[in-house]
Amino acid sequence: MSSRLINWFKFSSPATFYPLAGKLIPWFTGIAVVLIAIGLYMSFFVAPTDYKQGEGYRIIFVHVPTAWMSMFIYLVMALWSGLGLVFNTRISAMMANALAPTGAMFTFLALWTGAFWGKPMWGAWWVWDARLTSELILLFLYIGFMALQGAIEDTRRADRAGAILALVGVVNIPIIYYSVTWWNTLHQGASVSVSKGSSMGETMLVTMLIMVLGFWSYAIAVSLARVRSLILERERDSTWVSELSEVRR
């Protein structure tokens, strides 16, 4: 038990995590490019037309994966924040920092594609129902997290403040997820859930899941790249950084 714990803690040191992240990035980038290319091709040419919404429903293949990512990345960010507060590991706060911009981007994309879907189908770009409003609050949480981090000069204090904000905001995630079952909303219920399975055609579901995996790989690759720059920035005075070949050059 204790030997396994030590192994995990080994990667919480920036000096060991930095090269590991560097090795992982090309793999996740490659997987992301391939999966998103396949996913987009299937979204446009393979997935069948919907019986009710016609071709317009195809935006679901971007909308739902981005919305899932926006919530999932927030959970991961909050988890890293919690780990950072409890264990005082340097890498945790950097991971939370690195995830925030990607999470904000996915939240924005979910809202944006949602608006483009809402106008032709519902008849409105935006409504203030529980699902849409709570997703907008998620965007503000991401922006608030980044602003708070950036506003505090001392990184240790900035990390702690950001971590508390991220953890407080985590109550919003179940609210987003269950908003469509707890209250009457214009937004429809979940098409895919663990308890009820899926209410989509099979090809549609497969296409959507490929897009989800592609976005996952993208998110991992981008946040690892970002965390590497954060490590370099924060550890610039340490000897291991000054000995890196890419720094010495």
Partner: protein, 149 residues
């Protein structure tokens, strides 16, 4: 007790407290967070009669009447109660009998809901048209079979 156990304790207590607080707030807000009232709630006088609210439900089959002018009349139902709606304007493409709809407007003294805006609400089912046809046929046969018995 190590310092990090203490911090973990604080964190768990904090999150539980926060969860409890938000649960209480959401419970207190309850129906205020709902986007629309159902016909049953309207019939129970839960909807405001002095200002604008939203009415949501299904467009009753066979209830849509298009008049001479742009006014469309239809009935919104939740399969328990029904509310008559009048709307002057352009309806969204998905507006159909048997489909979900959300209308914003006021309830007149004659019991007719005068809508200023009508939005279509669709469900979470997506399938190719052939599958929908097959399902529709199977359903019709099932209903016919039940009637024969």
């Amino acid at each position: 007790m190590k310092a990090r156990h203490k911090r973990l304790g604080f964190l768990v207590v904090g999150l539980v407290g926060l969860g409890l607080a938000s649960w209480l707030v959401l419970n207190a807000l309850d129906s205020n967070l709902s986007y629309f009232f159902s016909p049953t709630e309207v019939s129970q006088n839960k909807a405001p009669d002095d200002h604008v609210f939203r009415l949501g439900g299904l467009v009753e089959n066979g209830s849509v009447e298009r008049g001479q002018e742009l006014t469309v009349r239809f009935v919104v139902t939740d399969n328990a109660n029904r509310v008559k709606v009048a709307y002057t304007g352009i309806l969204p493409d998905l507006f159909q009998e048997g489909q979900g709809v959300i209308a914003q407007g006021r309830l007149g003294s004659d019991g007719v809901f005068v809508a200023e805006e009508v939005l279509a609400k669709h469900d979470e089912n997506y399938m190719p048209p052939e599958v929908a046809d097959a399902l529709g046929k199977a359903h019709a046969e099932g209903v016919a079979g039940m009637n024969r018995q």
